[in-house]
Symmetry: D2
Amino acid sequence: MRLGQTVCVTLFGESHGNSVGSLVEGVPAGTIIDAEILMEDMIARRPGSKLASKRKETDEVEILSGVYQGKATGDPILLLIRNRDARSTDYEFLPNQPRPGHADHVSNVKSQGYADPRGGGSFSGRLTAGLVAAGSISRLILPSEWKVEAKIHQIGGLDESEGRILAENCRKEKDSIGSSVILEISGLPVGIGEPWFDGLEPALAGALMAIPGARAVEFGRGVMAGTMKGSEHNDLWLDDFKLLEGADGALGGISTGAKLTVTITFKPPSSIAQPQQTWNEGLKEIRELIVKGRHDPVLAPRARMVVEAVARLVLADLGVRGGYIDA
Amino acid sequence: MRLGQTVCVTLFGESHGNSVGSLVEGVPAGTIIDAEILMEDMIARRPGSKLASKRKETDEVEILSGVYQGKATGDPILLLIRNRDARSTDYEFLPNQPRPGHADHVSNVKSQGYADPRGGGSFSGRLTAGLVAAGSISRLILPSEWKVEAKIHQIGGLDESEGRILAENCRKEKDSIGSSVILEISGLPVGIGEPWFDGLEPALAGALMAIPGARAVEFGRGVMAGTMKGSEHNDLWLDDFKLLEGADGALGGISTGAKLTVTITFKPPSSIAQPQQTWNEGLKEIRELIVKGRHDPVLAPRARMVVEAVARLVLADLGVRGGYIDA
Amino acid sequence: MRLGQTVCVTLFGESHGNSVGSLVEGVPAGTIIDAEILMEDMIARRPGSKLASKRKETDEVEILSGVYQGKATGDPILLLIRNRDARSTDYEFLPNQPRPGHADHVSNVKSQGYADPRGGGSFSGRLTAGLVAAGSISRLILPSEWKVEAKIHQIGGLDESEGRILAENCRKEKDSIGSSVILEISGLPVGIGEPWFDGLEPALAGALMAIPGARAVEFGRGVMAGTMKGSEHNDLWLDDFKLLEGADGALGGISTGAKLTVTITFKPPSSIAQPQQTWNEGLKEIRELIVKGRHDPVLAPRARMVVEAVARLVLADLGVRGGYIDA
Amino acid sequence: MRLGQTVCVTLFGESHGNSVGSLVEGVPAGTIIDAEILMEDMIARRPGSKLASKRKETDEVEILSGVYQGKATGDPILLLIRNRDARSTDYEFLPNQPRPGHADHVSNVKSQGYADPRGGGSFSGRLTAGLVAAGSISRLILPSEWKVEAKIHQIGGLDESEGRILAENCRKEKDSIGSSVILEISGLPVGIGEPWFDGLEPALAGALMAIPGARAVEFGRGVMAGTMKGSEHNDLWLDDFKLLEGADGALGGISTGAKLTVTITFKPPSSIAQPQQTWNEGLKEIRELIVKGRHDPVLAPRARMVVEAVARLVLADLGVRGGYIDA
């Protein structure tokens, strides 16, 4: 549950346990830790909006180590978020009747029955709270000209505003809808990324695919590149190695100076309120399951913040490793 | 340039240097090292077919350590492949006039001019020889029922047989064409994959995106999941947790027992024989560049083998880490 | 601040900050987490006895993640210990006049002034609380026949009972005294340890030398081996590879089945109550410094517990990595 | 078989296999690779002198990747040393009758019989050739004012010149003798070393204890510190944080600016020519064993070079990690 090598974050916690959070290592000494930004980031990710789960969490982050007089000491920073509004009674069917589309069953098998099944345990999207908190810390590690922005790309094939209406309808119909997020990274100098498996794209792809519900990552022209010709796809180096708008932001995993664009596809949330016919291991038969809980009908609106957090953490790590950010 | 944690492979070498290869660590003692399979895998990846680069390499692999009496000792295995048919004179324009779509420029900037520029140096697809050799070693680490197969999914929007004709035409027109590979992994027990950033999908996505030319990875229904409804996308658990054909092969990054399907999109090869107008740093102006070399008009036919190798290495690593394969 | 690869512990916290503790990863699912043992271990390390610092800490450990119904889930376990009895006013001379023998100065330079200086910050022996808590968790990972015991070897050249009197006198004289701990590991099967840098001795030496105040580690006959002959030192393999009492517990870093003995030398505690003439950076002159705080006159009595904790964590890591303990 | 995190070296090879060597990662691009220094370092370690094993190896190092036009490219550097003068017939008693004091038996058990037993296989001191070659590369990574020097401290209780005579006598008597090496590191700025487990002392202790035959490591006053008083042991900070000669070179694992002194004790070589009565697993009885081979009667003279290599590699790693050396 660890991301990164130099700047690295380890997640911990369970959806309905005592707490969630993250331990962030490698934050350069002197980095300003801005509690206000942290709070804003947590609010942006927080459930409770119309399109989001009805679980109410204040998501207050306790900073328990590694910060002195408002600045990072260089030592591990512990970010702790208590769980307060967990309704574990909503999950009494677990692990007997695992939810379709969730990790309940595989987690139970893998842990030989020792996993905390409530609300998805450590597989829950709730753990992205620790990731967003860590990402917020990484904001001030990154040079100010490195811009990271994630937006809703589409919801069920529609643009953001129409898609939100669609999602609200899906919720009413006890259903949910797929979506995607577009991530844009700009302002990087040439040279960010390490060769091969630690390149910008491998690092981003690996980290982004860990966000619950992610099903695809595309870089630049993405899937479309699979039907293009070389003469169309090649980005010519213009004066002083400038590139045209739309050029790939990385080659061989190393930043080119052009904007890096990543599209991340999220499946429709698996928790839907309509009855589902699925295996009950206790009764050894297929039974109707109604998932209560309080759930989002679409992932992109909240996943957006997680995508940004993940991207910032990856950039902070690669930036320090490559010597582009002072450790 | 390292992939994996327990079973891990480190690539080394340069396209036109002395050699390429890999150091493979964590191969369980007693694993049979089958020189014949190794040779076959190398031949399948080897350039020289009609659709492939004309560079002729025998790609003989010297196994220089870690194997005794035909079996792995458990110590690091050094796989060395000498470069023989390198024509460095083809690359005399480097690093002055970097090729469009290649890492020449970013590599030169990142290394402050110390990188070996010839033929892409350490960014060259030539390094996949070491990866395929390592993947071949991992074949016999995997339990025999774990099946890994990568096929050509499409070339320029056409199926394999028509696509090959298209690619041959592109070559004649001094152009190249995009493609994609479909990877199918079957026979895994429930439970392979570690939580979050070391899940099956994150691990595969990170590793596959490091293959030169990869632009997208999609799992299961991939990009299509972004417009589906939850009621359609959810895979119901059937009797004894069986799943229907087409169900996701992993949930939360952990194998479900269903076939895992991954689609990897490759851009059209950037080396095309037609003249390109691109920046010449030596002359400080945009000039025509004609890339000689001997190049593939499409990546999927050879990338297929690399995809399989990468997938096997990832599975070997996760299998050992999870205790599903004896170390 | 991380120890281990498979079973691994990351320390966090500062002596006079909010808290100290550790994040323990890789604890096999199902491992019993015994709160009573944890409490006993913490009490044994706790300051407050005659020979120990007068700082009073209850050292209650909050287990905030990774445990469900009294057993490890396999996910990261967060162990948090709040600081309660910190008297930061005792350290107002820092960082201006760093204490001799402490890391105050080097920590200040390394962190460019951003370290928390109070009570040694993250270099304080207080962080061993998190290490002992983690070691306590590792107790139940180890097979019951693997015995780990650390005893006071000597204090100021005297045996334990006389040495304690000596230490008490040193305290009265506002001085402190050196000591050593002997660690005995028995009951290991043949084969624990990984080759070269991850062998039993390298792993133990590296981890033990991180305990504050450690100055030497000796294995088996230790320093004495430097003057012995091969014919004396060689341990002959007896019937069925038994070894005589006193034989080396590891060869080439791998356990032999014989008892492994390690002697760890600790310097006299650097915090002594007598005035010391030392550089004051604020005043730019050498000045008298009187270290208040509440300090131990000898390290071995409390370090003993830390040595055991570290040894258990190293064995748990190597045991899991080698497949001798099920992950 | 890997040392270091940023600058890191992985050993490979077996004593009587095809080759030994190392893969060195993280060498900063532009580092001069001086083939002459490399050759000199290899000669200094090479067997063949009076006090050393009679095995004749030219120990020529092939640099097979990562170097272009005499400078490091920043990519992995493969250093290969072929085995030429291996007499495997000397080891036909293995693995049936493992040598006392060697890893033959534990290696055989650990690998379930798959290890290469000849001459100690991958546990052989022969692998230090790859370590010395890597250490030689690291020479030019270190700033020139960082001095690393290892000298013979004592042989069998005598100084170097008398000790060498003693060792020669031991050889004639078909015996061997213990020894120690003193390592001095000077010229480091304040701040080298990372907190806790990656401090200078933990990192050096772990790495040095991996050298075959090492039995103890002592820092500064070492074992003697165990009987000293705090008032004697404390090093006072003098004007501008200078320290007196003899002060500890590190506090809390971080360099103080004073010379760092490490004493490493080596056991007498286990290969002695006199008959030894030891277990024969083939015959299931204790039998006389005469170890032929060609062996050193004392380790310090050649281990000295390995100690320096290891120390340089550790410093290069910590120097890059701490930002004291540009990556």
